[in-house]
Symmetry: C2
Subunit: 170 residues, 2 copies
């Protein structure tokens, strides 16, 4: 699944107009552009660094907190096309890296320490990476749908994607 | 946007295992396989037939109700790969057809009669087609994410896609 995400985002977003790329669900919510930046942050600062901490089994196995807003300043001058290409390269390299580890069941059961969740296994980290992708893909499709909320007229009541929103994070 | 959907679904679903293809969110909810079947039903029985009713401006402009479960019996013996290919062909032909109409603003403002919503314009129908696609793409990603609900362990509380669900239709 991890390998599929760049192509999915490319098909959804490559060459779309600014309204689709930059539209949000309201203040402090992510646009598709923001989501791609957030996924790049994950490739660079989250999944692989955390996997390395677990695999090293050093004296401190505590992860760095994940900065959910790093992308905002990082990508201020970037285009969506360049972010999509960058994400594709980073993801491909990271998938190759994980494959090269040839992880055993024993390694997948090793633990690290999440700053707020406590003990988590490498297996859970990798599953979370997949679900994190799928959640953000669902978000991109939902945010794009909402840009047409007025355009659908009376159909709004049959299109739950236009009125649903995720539970705010605690 | 309408042109993009087959490639997005192909990237998400082509060659996935049965767990991803047939997993649901519970009884009477759609799997990714069901969603592709439902989108095929839309291509064959909904969007274009309704657009033709509007454009014809005949004495009755009332649409047939959309059977949301036609795909269940229709596709009982099909594979996901064959449905993805069929959807791609149908969608491509339908996009070509709509383009060939070279719709004017005046035509886009013509009305038909939705069986429960009443008067709707061709412009609203076409916008709804787009939002319907995006809603079902979000659904496929969400349903797939939920197949890993146990696997993520304690991360479940940071992954709203695992606990959210759409408002049931009234």
């Amino acid at each position: 699944m991890l390998q599929r995400t760049p192509a999915i985002l490319h098909s959804l977003l490559d060459g779309v107009g600014e309204g689709w790329a930059r539209g949000t669900e309201g203040p402090d919510t992510f646009s598709p552009f923001d989501v791609v930046g957030h996924l790049i942050d994950g490739e660079e600062t989250d999944w692989i660094p955390r996997a390395r901490i677990i695999l090293a089994q050093g004296p401190s196995r505590r992860f760095e907190p994940y900065d959910r807003f790093r992308h905002r300043s990082r990508n201020a001058q970037r285009t969506l096309a360049s972010l999509l290409a960058e994400f594709g390269k980073l993801r491909s390299a990271n998938v190759d890296l994980v494959r090269s580890w040839k992880l055993t069941d024993q390694q997948l059961a090793l633990e690290g320490e999440h700053p707020s969740l406590g003990a988590v296994t490498l297996r859970q980290l990798l599953a979370t990476w997949v679900v994190h992708d799928l959640g953000h893909l669902a978000q991109v499709a939902r945010v794009m749908a909402k840009q047409y909320r007025e355009e659908v007229g009376p159909w709004v009541q049959y299109l739950p994607v236009l009125t649903d929103h995720e539970t705010p994070r605690s």
